[in-house]
Symmetry: C2
Subunit: 83 residues, 2 copies
């Protein structure tokens, strides 16, 4: 069993109004030292796979087919074997 952690963000070239809103909220709470905020999604997926390579193939396929909108989003993932 493998645990995959996927972080999804909007591409750098895509405006992030949610991030802007959070930044303004932080500023109005007095956090003037917050300079940039981007907001995204986070997925934890447990994958039943026999080895690291096949787990990696599966999480990539899941991202491409369901979790991610490749037009406006990009993602990073981290894969660890669960004991």
């Amino acid at each position: 069993m493998y645990n995959a952690v996927v972080n999804v963000t909007l591409k750098k070239s895509v405006l992030d109004p949610q991030g802007q809103t959070v930044l303004h909220a932080l500023e109005s709470l007095g956090f003037k030292d917050a300079k940039k905020v981007r907001v995204g999604k986070y997925f934890e997926v447990a994958i039943d796979a026999k080895d690291h390579k096949s787990a990696e193939d599966r999480i990539k396929a899941m991202c491409d087919q369901l979790l991610i909108n490749p037009v406006i989003e990009e993602y990073t993932y981290d894969l660890k074997e669960a004991r």
Copy 2:
């Protein structure tokens, strides 16, 4: 300048209907090897701080005061110095 990456998830004891929905969607796409999904939020925050310790204090304060609902959510963060 420091870059903080914050991953927010629902506490383990809190039901995650969004994660359940994603899991069912994965299953109906043929990903029978996906066994558990939890969905959360992801923040990237650039913080203007003089050292690691003060950046850490600030990101914790931001999480506690705005980004996180401590009743149902928990978070992890990772802090790196930007060049």
